[in-house]
Symmetry: C2
Subunit: 219 residues, 2 copies
């Protein structure tokens, strides 16, 4: 089973690596990191590069597609080779998936019209404006489209997907292999659970980062 | 604050990227992926490469050290430049940390003698044989040494560490930024929680992989 994870500059690494760590353990799975052009793709802060081993043109019809998010998502909202690839690959994929703001890219490519889908909590309204039916859940299945909320949700998404693909037994074995018995030190992982002050802190920081990024890029 | 994440061939990507995603968001933090030799380091299955931007020699005294695990840990158990670097860096570090079988490397370098520490559940006995005091907990603090259990536990470790470094408020903001509100589809993430049959499945698979790796390497 061919699994393609799309990467690009200014991605969020965990969006891609969470699902990779789960899906690469599926029996018979071959995961390939693809990009419009192969080579290193750096995260938002520039401090980590993941290598894309193949171009999207080399993998036209993976069975599973994974689209991660990150600030670089903003550069993939216009019509172009990535959108064409996504639409074409989606025609024959078994599962088309996204993590975090990756769903905005799927929506911009025209794949989420009227589809129940989720995104990072800061991007859920934007997802609605792009024609999806936004849902504030951690993992959302709608037909063969599976979307996850922010960053770390890709792990939960991939485990739920693994269960659909190979059954509960192997999915549980994968969970145990990566010792995924989460014990976060705080119960602050969603805007409903975090204190209002923390939610506002993250909101204002995200706005600041966006302004910084726009200034840096001369936009 | 300089944070060095040691990478090497046949590492487990999530061991490194989980802590990266949290610690890189600390105000004033600069994360660098380091290796004995800079360049791409591939995961166990060869399907993902992370780039090491610097050699360990270029970062002799980071404030925070992170040592991930993976099958490649077995190649770092002998005395050599990595052990020398770890011992030297540990002299001045504020925090010396590991994820999964990264703790076996710390132990082999002589840093865990009599130290309460943890590792992947499959490696916890080995950790004891190497002189540490093994503890089956998700995150273990002993002085400035912090160890996490398998793979995904690096996220919990990094959040707990973030709280020590900058306080609960910013740690919670980081947790909310990466929307870490885990909802695994199964309660099978530890050997105590998974069914006995699943534990045995993972155990026998790990043995099989080790034999395969040893055969491949001609050991």
């Amino acid at each position: 089973m061919d699994i393609a994870i799309l990467i690009y500059d200014r991605l969020t690494a965990l969006d891609a690596v969470g699902p990779y760590e789960v899906l690469s353990r599926l029996p018979g799975a071959t995961v390939t990191f693809v990009a419009e052009e192969p080579g290193p793709k750096r995260t938002e802060n520039g401090r980590l590069a993941l290598l894309a081993d193949a171009s999207i043109a080399e993998l036209p019809s993976p069975e599973v597609l994974v689209v991660p998010g990150g600030y670089g998502q903003a550069d993939l909202m216009e019509e172009g080779p990535v959108h064409e690839w996504l639409r074409k690959a989606h025609e024959t994929s078994t599962w088309t998936t996204s993590v975090c703001t990756g769903s905005l890219i799927l929506a911009a490519a025209g794949l989420l019209s009227g589809v129940r889908a989720t995104s990072h909590w800061l991007a859920i309204d934007e997802l609605g404006r792009l024609g999806a039916e936004p849902v504030s859940e951690r993992v959302v299945f709608d037909g063969k489209i599976v979307t996850a909320s922010g960053v770390s949700a890709g792990i939960d998404m991939a485990l739920a997907l693994a269960a659909r693909i190979v059954g509960d037994r192997v999915a549980q074995a994968i969970q145990l292999s990566i010792e995924y018995d989460p014990q976060p030190p705080f119960d602050a992982g969603s805007p409903e659970k975090a204190q209002a002050e923390i939610v506002e802190l993250v909101r204002s920081h995200a706005r600041f980062e966006q302004v910084q990024a726009a200034t840096r890029d001369g936009r």
